[in-house]
Amino acid sequence: MDLQNQAAILESVRQYGKENLVVLLGAPNAESSAIAAETVVAGDPSYAGPLAGVQLDLPVFHILEDEVRRAIPHALYEAEVGIMDAVLDRDAIVASVETIRARTGKRR
């Protein structure tokens, strides 16, 4: 996750508090989804950005997950996301985010 996005997330946590935030990912593959999810849960694994060593434990989901799909009006989801659902490896992406999410609050 790039340095600016990490800084923006850290600033949002300061401004609104962890309990008022949820992170929604749109990364196009399992590996980049896992990196982004790990960054907002356990800290930046690359140790390059402002979230290095910062364990935020934020709830994190991917736009392709069923819970997210159900929370968005059907027509809007189809128009904005629909085609990507068919193109991307949805199962692998969801599995990678679930794996990281399972670690929430359990690391370190």
Partner: protein
């Protein structure tokens, strides 16, 4: 005891300058550890200190290696490092090339060991493995903690003058042979290996075999009678007198000759200059290496559509894999652009 002095190299992203937009950032020094350098410092422990971090943009270093080599030595020298730790670069090609370039430049100029880490298929491996200890790492920064831990362990051993090996320290073999005395003679060791192999027991070769690319075969040609077929060979057939100066071993080029209207390759016009076998039969009839006569007869009988208007030849004898890859890619590009559907590759 004074602490060992470690210099850490990072690209613009890990060095916290920014992403791709900052890839042209010049080489610069920051005192102390930066970003992943804090993790490196923790892994090094108390006996070594990351005294400074060298940061440079991927493009800045990888696109003009000469400039980077020229600049980096004077930039780093005042910090008097005992070891350079570069990266890890994971699967990032330009970062890997930058790590390889800087390891070579600083290692040679300052006489210090260099440790880096990257994925084994990173192009930086070929560039850097003779000059640096390259720890094998994964493809993404998720492997940061593990890679830095291994790099720190290896750097520590090198600083203390302890022996290291690719097997024990997880670095990519550097192609350096070290003599050692073994009690059992080679014949005995060979037979023991053979017995172990025949008995299905584990054994370890003393000569590691090179890793070859796996090239997936292309789909079969649907109808050869409609296809344009090219002849390509590594058998060293050249115009008589070798006016294009193809090497008889260790080729630096491939040659392209027009097929024209020739029915075959005659010994008055062509010869074989291969340096790896007795060429008298190939010189007597060069079609034995590049079978133009047989291909013409297939063309006449309608078994293939037509012959490509050029044939290509290089020298396989002791030619490096790197060069062979380049020749292959170059020939393939010409064939594709010329509309070839298939290739008959004859080798010696």
């Amino acid at each position: 005891m004074a602490k060992f002095r470690v210099l850490h190299y990072l690209n613009q992203y890990f060095g916290q300058i920014g992403g791709e937009a900052e890839a042209d950032a010049r080489l610069q020094i920051r005192p102390g550890p930066v970003g992943p350098g804090t993790l490196l410092q923790a892994a090094l422990g108390a006996s070594a200190e990351v005294v400074a971090t060298l940061v440079g943009g991927d493009n800045y270093v990888a696109s003009d290696a000469e400039r980077a080599r020229a600049e980096v030595v004077e930039l780093v020298r005042p910090w008097r490092p005992d070891v350079l730790v570069a990266g890890p670069a994971f699967a990032s090609g330009r970062y890997g090339l930058a790590c390889g370039t800087l390891c070579e430049a600083l290692g040679k100029a300052l006489g210090i060991p260099a440790v880096t880490a990257m994925h084994p298929e990173n192009p930086g491996v070929e560039l850097g493995r003779r000059h640096a200890y390259i720890v094998a790492a994964g493809t993404t920064a998720r492997g940061m903690e593990e890679a830095l831990g291994r790099m720190a362990g290896l750097a520590g051993k090198l600083l203390r003058g302890e022996p290291v090996t690719p097997a024990a320290d997880a670095y990519i073999p550097r192609g350096i042979l070290i003599n050692e005395v073994v009690e059992a003679p080679a014949a005995r060791r060979g037979v023991e290996m053979l017995l172990a192999k025949l008995g299905g027991d584990p054994y370890e070769s003393e000569i590691p075999r090179p890793r070859w690319d796996r090239v997936p075969p292309p789909a079969p040609i649907k109808d050869p009678a409609l296809a344009t077929i090219a002849l390509v060979s590594e058998g060293g057939i050249v115009l008589r007198g070798n006016p294009d100066r193809l090497e008889s071993w260790g080729a630096s080029k491939y040659l392209k000759y027009p097929t024209g209207a020739s029915a075959d390759l005659t010994p008055d016009a062509y010869e074989c200059i291969h340096g790896g076998f007795d060429v008298s039969y190939a010189c007597a009839d060069p079609d034995r290496i590049v079978p133009l006569d047989a291909a013409r007869s297939l063309e006449r009988d309608g078994q293939i559509g037509r012959l490509f208007p050029f044939w290509f030849c290089t020298m396989g004898n002791n030619t490096t894999l790197d060069n062979a890859r380049k020749f292959g890619a170059g020939i393939a590009r010409e064939l594709r652009e010329g509309g070839a559907d298939g290739v008959i590759l004859t080798a010696t």
